[in-house]
């Protein structure tokens, strides 16, 4: 029974495909997987928008949307209808073709990245030998879309927003990729299903063998999440769309369904990068304890994904926006050295597993934690010292 529930979607797909002639089966299987991913994440996008507004409302001591349907739960449907029926305004001076293509160029790579992630046992849409490389390769195309949107709008706010976004995405891509390197080193593979497999099993039959429960994994997870927040342009790294400074950045001249597409692609990007975090550090679809293995694997994956999304929303509601120089200093002077040190710590962890003497396990932990904590302390202090001098405004007083 539990096995059937676990493989529910896999057997459903096989059953549906079996109606077709032999020649059409592989193609139909691919199409089914694609439509399942698009459908599931479009639904999840709707749920996340309402949850985000509700939670932000709770954090800011107000109610949030509560007018459409019971508890305001039909708000996403109302938003969707509004977006679809709105007039699509294209600026007169805009580069029409590039303006039109920008949201399309954003949503295709994000959907491709979603296809890489293992959602459950035997539930990877595309199982590539170099899956994680593919993820980052298509992810780099999103920068291009942001540039296309900002440049084609012929609006200074759009251009400034696009430049900010590209600078930010390039800077934070380095720690994002480098923090995954430690996981790849330990798993010895670039394939995402195999990385999940490497994290299955339990220590002493009870504790999960997830990467996040090692010193390098914990540090890598934190670095990865910070870089992922910046990559998906969310608060406190939402400078590209800073509404109090540059209206809406590269989205300023977008309206109607194109804007909705951008909005959805941004959330899909968030889901993709959160899904990657779950796969790399939180054990993918593995259950946290052996006695909880009766819960289907895909339920575990989506529960972990939901927890991470909740964390993102919480951070958005709590932290103020960074300044541009703080943003750059943080990426290049703190995150990048820390992620490089983390790779060294991973190597230490790997080579110290041959230690056999008494207390070797504890010593390994303390050693790795110290190598991480000391640079953390000094880099953090150096970051605080680099503040610009107090400004004297000669004419503004």
């Amino acid at each position: 029974m539990t096995g059937q529930l676990d493989q529910l979607f896999v057997s459903l797909k096989q059953w549906l495909v079996s109606f077709l002639p032999q020649a059409a089966q592989p193609m139909a299987g691919i199409l089914l997987s694609i439509s399942a991913i698009i459908g599931a994440f479009a639904t999840m996008f709707a749920i996340t928008t309402i949850m985000e507004r509700k939670i932000l409302g709770r954090i800011q001591n107000r109610l949030g949307p509560n007018r459409v349907g019971p508890f305001g739960l039909l708000q996403p449907a109302a938003d969707g209808i509004k977006m679809l029926t709105k007039e699509d305004i294209v600026p007169f001076a805009a580069d029409k073709l590039v303006h039109f293509l920008a949201p399309v160029v954003l949503i295709i790579p994000v959907a491709l990245a979603l296809a890489m992630i293992p959602y459950g046992r035997n539930m990877t849409a595309v199982d590539l030998d170099a899956g994680i490389l593919f993820f980052f390769a298509v992810g780099s195309a999103t920068e291009l879309s942001v540039f296309m949107a900002g440049w084609s709008s012929q609006n200074k706010y759009s251009l400034v927003g696009a430049m900010r976004a590209i600078a930010q995405m390039i800077s934070y891509e380095m720690p994002l990729v480098l923090s995954t390197v430690s996981v790849l080193m330990m798993a010895g593979t670039l394939s995402l299903p195999l990385i999940v497999q490497a994290q299955s099993g339990y220590i002493y039959e009870i504790l999960p063998r997830w990467n996040v429960f090692t010193p390098w994994g914990l540090a890598g997870f934190v670095l990865f999440m910070i870089a992922a927040t910046a990559e998906s342009n969310r608060a406190p790294f939402d400078l590209p769309e800073a509404e109090s400074e540059i209206i809406a950045g590269y989205l300023t001249e977008y309206s109607g369904f194109k804007y909705a597409l951008f909005f959805m692609a941004e959330y899909w990007g968030l889901f993709a990068v959160s899904g990657l975090a779950v796969t790399l550090f939180l054990g993918g679809w593995n259950a946290p304890f052996p006695f909880l293995q009766w819960v289907p694997s895909w339920a575990w994956f989506f529960a972990k994904l939901g927890t991470i999304i909740f964390g993102f929303i919480w951070v958005r509601g709590t932290l103020p926006r960074l300044r541009l120089d703080q943003l750059m200093n943080f990426a290049w002077k703190f995150l990048l050295p820390m992620s490089l040190i983390n790779i060294v710590v991973t190597a230490m962890w790997h080579f110290s597993r041959v230690f056999q003497f008494v207390g070797a396990r504890e010593m390994r932990w303390v050693l790795c934690a110290l190598v991480l904590a000391i640079p953390y302390f000094f880099l953090g202090r150096a970051l605080g010292e680099g503040r610009p001098a107090k400004r004297n405004y000669k004419f503004a007083e």
Partner: protein, 194 residues
């Protein structure tokens, strides 16, 4: 021939032609990105997974953004200069093309054509590429790393500010006073520095 290959090849060639012939520099850059992506797709179609993805990562992700940045930061007006078809550069260009073509043709003419052999393409996993890089090709890898480090240091040196005078100019710009250094504003600059 494969239908997918034909589509990819036509798109790659068309975007390459467009990248060379369009008037708007940004359009050219975007078309070139499409060419890069097309080449990456060709690699992927030939089962060269790693090369294809690396091509995508490096060219679409990094080189394209670099080009776009360079265009945006250097160019202010679109070049509206009329281009004459017959100029010294076209004549030289055709000359070079003819020279290359003749030498290539001569080389091909003198080559003995061997009968095609059936070769099974090896399945190259990322792991094997990594092992080869770390054992047989470790010296070239290190040399490339050294070269890139040198290039990076060079870029940092170019971008680095001159220590003192430039600093006070920067403070002045912040204060909103004109760039010329008159004694009075110099004093404010020093005060601001302290």
């Amino acid at each position: 021939m494969d239908l997918a290959f034909i589509i990819i090849a036509v798109l790659t060639l068309a975007s390459a032609v467009a990248a060379m012939s369009l008037r708007n520099l940004v359009h050219c850059a975007l078309c070139m990105v499409m060419t890069f992506a097309g080449i990456a797709l060709t690699f992927l179609q030939l089962n060269a997974e790693f090369v294809g993805l690396a091509q995508l990562l490096v060219y679409v992700g990094a080189v394209a953004i670099l080009i776009v940045f360079a265009i945006l930061l250097t160019r202010s007006e679109d070049a509206k200069k009329e281009v004459r078809f017959v100029s010294s550069s076209t004549v030289v260009g055709f000359g070079v093309v003819a020279l290359v073509a003749v030498s290539l043709l001569a080389a091909i003419q003198h080559t003995q054509i061997l009968p095609p052999q059936s070769v099974v393409a090896p399945h190259v996993s990322v792991k094997r590429i990594g092992e080869q890089l770390m054992t047989n090709y470790v010296l070239p890898l290190e040399v490339i790393g050294l070269l890139l480090t040198a290039a990076m240091i060079g870029a940092v040196v170019i971008a680095m500010r001159e220590p003192d005078p430039a600093d006070s100019v920067d403070v002045q710009q912040r204060n909103g006073s004109p760039l010329k250094l008159d004694p009075d504003s110099k004093k404010t600059a020093v005060v601001a520095n302290e």
